[in-house]
Symmetry: C3
Subunit: 441 residues, 3 copies
Amino acid sequence: MTQLWNLAEVAGRDRAEEARQRELDHLLERLYPMCRSLTGEGVRETLRVLQEKLPIEIKEVPSGTSVLDWEVPPEWRVREAWIKDPSGNVIVDFCEHNLHLLGYSAPFSGTVSLTELDDHLYSDPARPSDIPYRTSYYAERWGFCLAHDLRERLTPGDYEVRVDTTLEPGALTYGEFVVPGQTDREVLVSSHVCHPSLANDNLSGIVVAAELAHRLHALGSEHLRHSYRFLWAPGTLGAITWLALNRERVGRITHGLVAANLGDPGGFHYKRSRQGEAAIDRAVVLAARDSEVDVEIEDFVPFGYDERQYCSPGFDLPVGSLTRTPWGRYPEYHTSADDLSLVSSQRLLDSVQLYLRTFAVLEADRQYRNLEPHGEPQLGRRGLYRTLGGEGAKERELAILWVLNQSDGTRSLMDIAERSGLSVAVLDEAARALVKARLLE
Amino acid sequence: MTQLWNLAEVAGRDRAEEARQRELDHLLERLYPMCRSLTGEGVRETLRVLQEKLPIEIKEVPSGTSVLDWEVPPEWRVREAWIKDPSGNVIVDFCEHNLHLLGYSAPFSGTVSLTELDDHLYSDPARPSDIPYRTSYYAERWGFCLAHDLRERLTPGDYEVRVDTTLEPGALTYGEFVVPGQTDREVLVSSHVCHPSLANDNLSGIVVAAELAHRLHALGSEHLRHSYRFLWAPGTLGAITWLALNRERVGRITHGLVAANLGDPGGFHYKRSRQGEAAIDRAVVLAARDSEVDVEIEDFVPFGYDERQYCSPGFDLPVGSLTRTPWGRYPEYHTSADDLSLVSSQRLLDSVQLYLRTFAVLEADRQYRNLEPHGEPQLGRRGLYRTLGGEGAKERELAILWVLNQSDGTRSLMDIAERSGLSVAVLDEAARALVKARLLE
Amino acid sequence: MTQLWNLAEVAGRDRAEEARQRELDHLLERLYPMCRSLTGEGVRETLRVLQEKLPIEIKEVPSGTSVLDWEVPPEWRVREAWIKDPSGNVIVDFCEHNLHLLGYSAPFSGTVSLTELDDHLYSDPARPSDIPYRTSYYAERWGFCLAHDLRERLTPGDYEVRVDTTLEPGALTYGEFVVPGQTDREVLVSSHVCHPSLANDNLSGIVVAAELAHRLHALGSEHLRHSYRFLWAPGTLGAITWLALNRERVGRITHGLVAANLGDPGGFHYKRSRQGEAAIDRAVVLAARDSEVDVEIEDFVPFGYDERQYCSPGFDLPVGSLTRTPWGRYPEYHTSADDLSLVSSQRLLDSVQLYLRTFAVLEADRQYRNLEPHGEPQLGRRGLYRTLGGEGAKERELAILWVLNQSDGTRSLMDIAERSGLSVAVLDEAARALVKARLLE
């Protein structure tokens, strides 16, 4: 625990960290080009790269499996996909950018007029030079996404179109990794792994989660009271699949965070769990306050990322979402402009640090009981208080007084941190000293 | 219900409404001159005019009847009342304006000096050209109210006074009308009917209540979940009498509004029920918010109109008061300047609309239960969600997600409307679609 | 009770009060020079002077007595204490100012070098001309406090030092006085009596408590519903000793205030009890509001004066602290500049008045029950309401309506005062009138 405070303190701040930063840069570059989707090879390749860093388990759930109200769809594979203009030039090519192909496009081959083609094109006049990101998971369609500028330049004529994809029985793939702790009360960190070449949403979340898993794993179970479960799964259906396969285990999740958009230059945002005042909701606020990091706190809404599933009323898990700029609020969101230039590894490490501090708060938070609750115990003779009256009290002494005064069996360290304004770290240290002095249990 | 939303939407806004507006103007002109009081012919005449529009029941409660801590007083009738000056000119005449006579004046006939007369005169130096409104229900007095300017001009001498009134056994009269709905949970609309020629206070309330009763009656019981009870009764004693005679029925009143001051140019004000957070208190706020009408919300105080009686601690009914400018806060209040020029039929119809919207919120408010609470149900295959990913969600889809997420058996549509910021109408529509899709009950 | 309102109203405001003021000035002058400490003659002398005014009981608790987690220490007596400079001049002398000697200094006699001496000197560079106040109760040390200017001027050489003190078995002394009331529900007023020549902290508290005790004693038990217990005890250990000796009686303390810093020119401050919303916490706010005195309200923190002990989690008594400038926040705090010039008897009397008003609120606060809760009772026939309708209601009538409306057995006069904005005094008067009219019990 003290180790976890240290770990959080150090993250992103020293030389060893510079090496980590270079490693992250390298990881980003390898993972960015892969064509992740709801299912398929892109997800598998991504998880295999993470396995080089961490013994992640890769799970495969066959197409057709019933998961809650849903069914695992056929697996999508892309061989090639392009459009040739009337002169025979390839003008849009999946090889060039995987956003060009509508996600889950059905196969198609043929020659179509511009008018016909136009029904299958997606572009955004508001960002004319970017390729938008679009999918059609649950209605069979084919389509291409392209820069609006390019679309505007298309002239009437016959266009040859090739969408060489398959939608056949296969599997939905997700990765899972647990750092066991002293108890089986779990902290869940979940990131969606279904977005193709989009760097902030959500390659940044994938990488931050991997880095966290790596560090906690290295720290070791003996320093962790909670177990930490990491999940890299396709958005919506991945979370639903995991929930369906783990219904009996779900109750162990005591705290959780959905990790996304963690590399952009925007400030941190925390979206509360549906419960709204769960320990995780308070821990993030305290971690931010104690480390003087600004975090915008927002109420739960039933749209966004996979907190939608964890916070559905049947589960109602205490899972919030800690991001930098939330989905849909940065101009590059869901376009080809969300590329590696939007994400910096230093910001990823700052995100790692805030997550670790939040974990440290959760680890420290306990309800202690004052064993000498009648009057103040004599701290001086136990070496816990200055012996010379008339001086100002030190922060550590204030922490001792607060912990003693509030520890009546109904209040935890987070309660005391909120009321006193003292940091959880200082209160944790005071509580440990008091336990040692047998004034607290 | 959908019908009630429509009704609320339309009120005061189309051609048919212009006809209603002219009808209201006509009604105001007929009712304004009548000399209403705590008892007597003025109230009966008023209710008879309303009967032309609506089959109101007219109730008579004999003088001397014990009602709670009170007793129905003798009935007051006025034949004539005037003052002649020393030259024999009639200077104050009840025939000219019924405010001239102190309400419930005892009979008197005789010649008095100016000094003696002065003890029986009431005027307001602050509004020197208006006749103030004064009553003496429970202490036997005679008196006249007049413009202060006129009073100042009176010269010493002998004044002949005639107050030809009777205070004899009779009855207290009130009107009642019920629009039955699918349940006997009642919405009460109560307006005081005891004020003589005062247009805003409370001819406006009388007329708005009649218009509401007329519209709900026309809408028909099959479209109403609640029953709507309308009461036109003298202030204080009328409400007390009704409560005394209906003690066993009082528990059915689930929501209620006291209707008064609904025609003046001031903004809307809502005074909360004594309970303070009753459904009616929240429904008015939501109706106002959703229709972008400013309503000043005020806490309950135990003075004002008949909410005093409904909200006495023995009954403690959830009855608030929805008015435009509250009593005592407009300069014409309780003077002859509160005449028809202060009231417009367009404003009365706007008031009708806000009442109807409030009723629509109450009708829509239910606790639903999500039948697929584990994860989000697949809305796409039920035609409840767009199939193309990457676009922004529409308000209707947000409403569906909110209703599903929050309907765990502890929250109603009003709760969801308050939390989500979405309108009750949109949530109601979403809930109906979800019930149809068997995702909600 | 009405008598207590009057007493509070008058305090500090009339001729008789001028005499009281002169008496307080005299008392301050006699008590200021005494060398109070945790134990010893200074406390005894102080209490004996108070006995001239009031039959205070003086309690002695032998050294070595176990009190909660503590033990009563040896008694400290000072015969003389001085430092002579190398030329043989007495440069620091306890006789001159009792702050010069470190509180609880162990005996010492000898000649020391300046370097050696320096380890035993305490001064404050930030206030170079004042003597700071320092103690060493629980670690055996000798030392002197002096102006930093003087310390700076000391030249190397041999200094003769004499600390002729004893730390021998004796007693801890405290004073106690009870004004019994109609019930044994107690209001505790506690002031610390262990500070030597410091006028505001806490001679002011000692004197205000004595004045309050004197006035309530003079008022007489028949006018008091609560009993009032006054405690003059050494800080920390005195409160702990009293709590230890009265564990079975502690439950009677229904409300309490720690009285300190009541004579300086700063504004009033109230520190809430640990409970935070206890009756005393609300009573102080209402007393201040009703008498238009600004009082800064602060949350409980577990450091300060003896509220630390009363509010330790094992006791958790509803004890707050009503002061002017809180400890540590005025520049003269714990220095020789906290002398009689900082304190005025007029301000002490204003403090007395605010305490009395708070007591008056506590005395008035009751839950009444409306005996005619259905509708409003007819107040006119009971002489409780104007008979002429149309005039504005008077404050007394509003108070009657509020008390009737809210007295359903769940709300007290403080609740009603908070909700209505009316003063507790006016509501108290209304409640008494209603009890007389048999409308309330």
